[in-house]
């Protein structure tokens, strides 16, 4: 075998191995999605959306309580986490810049982003649930907010830094005060990026189960009071899917399907937004 043949053979082997590996990764994703769709779609019917939780064997059993609970917890966490994350990111990019303090905050939020969510759940259990004496929707909201803030903070920081400094200078050169430069020029230039960060942040916390098990816990009936334990899709899915009753397991599949489609949707919108920004 000549040197050139040997080289071409090695090239071929590496190409086949890497292509195969890529397909194995994709295959698992498709497998998960297809199982979800097969089991989920068949489990979905109007009763899922119309009824609250019921004992096994009961006809009128659904996910209304979990869907509404999930919606309340996620939207409250978003309402608190988004402004905090955006303002924090604004501090980093526009005021702190490359100062020591700003870089320390960047490092800490990067660590926070990879912190196991169960640790954050147990932290909130210790500082909120135990002093309150009971599980509550608020505890779940706080846990998810803590997970969400560093994601939005760092994306905002990155996206604001992508706005060319000449654009800021041009606004200053017209006599604009700093807050107006940030609001009119920098936010406007980075709005798609910030929005993407928000969507990805919501998608991240929407699938969290561990921090909710410790905090908002569960409720088999509809509750809209954040001071009381509150159902969520993830915890309900965990309870139903691990139960020995077939009708509960089916509802668990429906919950898994709805949740996955929601998160998939958010991710796809996020990616599309990134693509439109790059396309410009």
């Amino acid at each position: 075998m000549t040197a050139i043949e040997k080289r071409m053979l090695t090239n071929k082997i590496v190409m086949i191995l890497s292509t195969l590996s890529a397909f194995i990764g994709i295959a698992f994703l498709l497998w998960i999605l297809s199982i979800l769709i097969i089991n989920g779609v068949s489990a979905i019917n109007w009763e899922i959306f119309a009824f609250e939780g019921a004992p096994p064997g009961h006809e009128e059993s659904g996910l209304k309580h979990a869907l509404i609970g999930q919606l309340i917890i996620i939207s409250t966490a978003t309402a608190i986490g988004v402004p905090l994350g955006i303002l924090g990111g604004t501090y980093l990019s526009e005021y702190g810049q490359q100062s020591k303090l700003a870089n320390i905050i960047r490092d800490i939020s990067d660590i926070m982003m990879s912190a196991p969510s169960i640790v954050i759940g147990s932290f909130i259990y210790a500082v909120v649930v135990i002093p309150m004496g009971h599980f509550s929707g608020w505890a779940g909201v706080i846990a998810l907010t803590i997970i969400m803030i560093p994601i939005i903070l760092r994306t905002t920081d990155d996206m604001l830094q992508l706005v060319p400094s000449t654009l800021r200078e041009a606004a200053f050169a017209l006599g604009a005060p700093k807050y107006k430069v940030i609001i009119n020029i920098v936010y406007r230039g980075a709005k798609v990026g910030i929005l993407t960060g928000i969507l990805l942040g919501i998608a991240r916390v929407a699938g969290e189960t561990a921090p909710l098990l410790f905090t908002s816990f569960n409720d088999n009936f509809l509750s809209t009071d954040l001071n009381e334990p509150m159902a969520s899709l993830t915890v309900t899915m965990y309870n139903y899917a691990t139960s020995p009753y077939e009708d509960w397991q089916n509802i668990g599949w429906a919950a898994a399907f709805i949740l996955s489609m929601f998160i998939l949707g958010l991710n796809i919108i996020g990616r599309l937004l990134i693509m439109t920004r790059k396309g410009k």
Binding site: P164, T166, L167, R168, E169, A170, A171, F172, A173, L174, G175, A176, P177, K180, N184, I185, R188, G189, K280
Partner: protein
């Protein structure tokens, strides 16, 4: 010793023993610069890369204040006061001394809003007054005909040359007394460059202009006075024709004849 001529014109600005030092360095980037800037004239600053011409230009509207730790010493006189004083109102100063940048800096908003931006900052809310002043600025910047039918369109859809004229319209809309041009045509094609140069010459009836350029022909074409800078010093300031034909300093002569730079 530098050769600085006295100008017969009224002065818009006067620089005296000016020194500038960037954050984190001890060696000043601009050393002992003294020069007059003539009113309603065009003063060009030329010199090789790194000579400090842009640094000097950005001192006139205190752009260096956007980044911490930069130091000014000496005096830049404008309307009887030293604008380097710490108590100088920079917002006020920058509405009197406008700036055009190397790359067009159209804001991510409509053409109309771009030009109205500075006016709105000054508190002008009246719709018809805004309309009038936006139209006048666009006309003065020789871009009105091209954009009048699409004022609500995104400014980023304009060509580079159009965007640069839009930036000029935006700057003159607030009626500044001085305009600073930082290599305004270096990112443009020859035809757009010609348009901008023509515009700059027209503008001097209303404003005093300082233009930094790496293009000596451009300085010769548009300016009344030219300053040659080298290694942070102003080597020579003269009437443009005289400086290019009979430079007083040996360094100036070597630069304009292409011996270095």
């Amino acid at each position: 010793m530098a050769t600085i001529i006295n100008i017969p014109h009224e002065k818009a600005l006067e620089v005296k023993d000016f020194q500038f030092t960037y954050n984190g360095t001890t060696e000043p980037s601009l050393k002992e610069i003294s020069m007059p800037i003539a009113k309603n004239s065009i003063t060009a600053l030329i010199g090789p890369s790194g000579c400090g011409k842009t640094t000097l230009l950005r001192s006139f509207n205190r752009m260096h204040d956007l980044y911490p730790g930069n130091r000014y010493e000496g005096l830049i006189e404008f309307k009887g006061r030293n604008i380097l004083e710490p108590k100088e109102d920079l917002i006020q100063l920058r509405t009197c001394i406008g700036m055009i940048f190397q790359k067009p800096t159209a804001f991510p908003m409509s053409i109309y809003d771009n030009v109205a931006y500075g006016l709105r900052l000054q508190g002008i809310k009246n719709r018809s007054e805004l309309n009038d002043r936006v139209e006048k600025a666009l006309q003065d910047a020789a871009i009105w005909k091209e954009v009048s039918s699409r004022l609500k369109h995104d400014a980023n859809g304009l060509s580079g040359g159009q965007q640069q004229r839009l930036c000029i319209a935006r700057a003159i809309a607030v009626e500044p007394e001085v305009l600073l041009f930082d290599e305004p045509t270096s990112a443009l094609d020859p035809i757009s460059t010609q348009g901008i140069e023509k515009l700059v010459i027209e503008l001097k009836e209303k404003v005093s202009i300082i233009i930094v350029t790496h293009n000596m022909q451009q300085a010769a074409r548009v300016s009344d006075y030219t300053g040659f800078m080298y290694l942070g010093e102003l080597i020579e300031l003269g009437i443009t024709e005289e400086l290019f034909v009979t430079p007083k300093e040996r360094l100036t002569e070597e630069y304009i004849t292409g011996k270095f730079g």
